[in-house]
Symmetry: C2
């Protein structure tokens, strides 16, 4: 599709992303971009890692959560914000609410790790525990919204959130304008669709790829069929990437994406080991899916400057023993 | 002792450290200084972490190893360099030799983890495996030095090495001139004695502390008696801190140090968890001994600006399971 036609059609403009960035800047970190000589030598690819594991709340999700919250009117803010999430979006809204002195209601499935529940409570949010299925989560959320008048902010199926996530690749391009490619993990597609828009507006030639686990392969199927599909099976340590795309995220992604690349569990563990051993930073398994994808498809990226968004670093340390078992 | 009298007595001058820094700069990273709001809030101390885990070879040891190597004459360089070490000093010399295109001979006890032997060999050094005791290490080293004419560079009992390590606190003070205190781990005392000298020359009012595990408590005893003592027992996960001080390092340390503070194994694990979970970086257990010491002695440091040298990040990932066992 021609750029000018596409631009008219798009619901998020360049100005939206620029204002979102100005809006959230006082509340987020400008995360560093790291490089690593050993990984470059090993792969023949020049990687630039945007370290969102060092972001506030330990993940990029604060960008979207904070942007959505800051666009609410004083009237809306009065009643607080709400979501259902067992992951980083829960912490993002809890942190945003604490920062702005408003209320947050977070519905969490009872399967959520205690450490995540504690983190959300630690920011002063009200946690509502529900059964661990989609219907129970939505019921509990609808109930709390009805009772409190809080504003629901979806983890990714929300243009305000997608616009916030788009600021990440904008920063990366400000540091590395000569980038050829950017790869992000894909779960619900908030980061990937935001990155697609950021690339489109701030460096039109930039190729965007998504990395997805074979054990949660919904996005690759959705891209093929053109509509939101479920994964044939779910089995991956990349536990941030289990959700399906939404109409809104798929709509943006299919206009802009070069491809979605699958990786195996072994490839994820190997990439995780590489980042831990060589870069000395802690990232979530979901984060290294793009690195694993680049290494598996080295022919596509050899000699190129490839940006990787390391999306977060909130790990349960007691899982290390299963990821890297003693021999 | 008055400063001017002390300066006359000292074998390492301010100019030595300044030249060492210029000498090694092209070969090392200027490592970042990180801060962490949660750890500051939790402790009431303002911490500045000098991240030598991001240094070349993953540890500060490259500073001393590179400085010592670069001060050799062309005649000496021709025959290469040698040491005995199972740890980061081995990698430092191997890397220095590779960078300068000379030979390195590294005597390693047969108890060394294969991953460390492989890393040293990966830099092209010749590895000589010996029995795991001090006499065998020295015998093997003497033999290789006699055969090759290589220059022996001790891991810490060497003024050229100590001078190199002093550049780390110099960089930290350049970034945070208002620092009140600096704390380093203490094993053989190379980093601590270098830090003492750096403080003395570049910020005379800066207090210097050492952090030492209760399970390797030789430095605290040596400071009391004034001569090099052995630890009453060795049992600690801080495996970079098992060696005793030397005459040279103790000599410098006892002139300058405020105190050496002991920490328990539990305190080390807790500090390690804090750095992994909050700062999202990988450091060796030895590194967090200073943080653990500051937290145990919060009364000494409350409200102060405290520099912590995070000395390295070379960990065996398969040990994570024993440090952070599943509940």
């Amino acid at each position: 599709m021609k750029a000018n036609k596409l631009e008219r059609k798009m619901k998020i403009s360049k100005e939206d992303i620029l204002s979102a960035h100005e809006r959230i800047k006082p509340y987020i970190h400008r995360t560093p971009v790291m490089t690593n000589q050993s990984i470059n030598q090993m792969t023949g690819i020049q990687f630039y890692f945007k370290c969102e594991n060092f972001q506030k709340i330990g993940a990029f999700k604060i960008r979207g959560g904070m942007n959505a919250t800051l666009t609410l009117s004083a009237e809306q803010l009065k009643n607080g914000i709400a979501t259902h999430s067992s992951g980083n979006h829960a912490q993002a809204l809890a942190y945003a609410a604490k920062t702005l002195g408003i209320k947050a209601y977070i519905v969490m499935p009872k399967s959520s790790p205690q450490v995540k529940v504690d983190a959300v409570k630690g920011y002063g949010a009200t946690v509502i525990i529900c059964e661990a299925n989609q219907a129970a989560r939505e019921d509990a959320l609808n109930k709390v919204v009805a009772e409190t008048g809080a504003e629901f902010i979806h983890p990714y199926d929300d243009y305000r959130v997608i616009t916030g996530q788009a600021t990440c690749v904008k920063e990366l391009l400000e540091e590395v304008p000569e980038l050829d490619v950017v790869i992000t993990p894909v779960g619900g597609g908030g980061l990937l669709s935001g990155t697609c828009l950021g690339a489109f507006y701030f460096k039109p030639g930039l190729k965007v790829y998504g990395g997805e686990p074979e054990g949660a392969a919904d996005a690759v199927l959705s891209l093929q069929s053109g509509k939101v599909e479920k994964a044939p099976f779910i089995e991956t340590i990349a536990d941030g990437l289990l959700t399906t795309l939404s109409e809104q995220t798929l709509g943006i992604i299919k206009e802009h994406i070069s491809d979605i690349l699958l990786v195996s569990e072994n490839e994820i563990i190997n990439a995780l080991r590489l980042v831990y051993e060589r870069m000395k930073i802690i990232v979530e398994p979901s984060c290294v899916v793009p690195l694993a994808a680049a290494m598996r498809n080295a022919n596509l990226f050899k000699g190129k400057k490839v940006g990787i968004i390391l999306s977060g670093g909130n790990v349960d340390l007691t899982k290390f023993g299963t990821w890297f078992p003693a021999k």
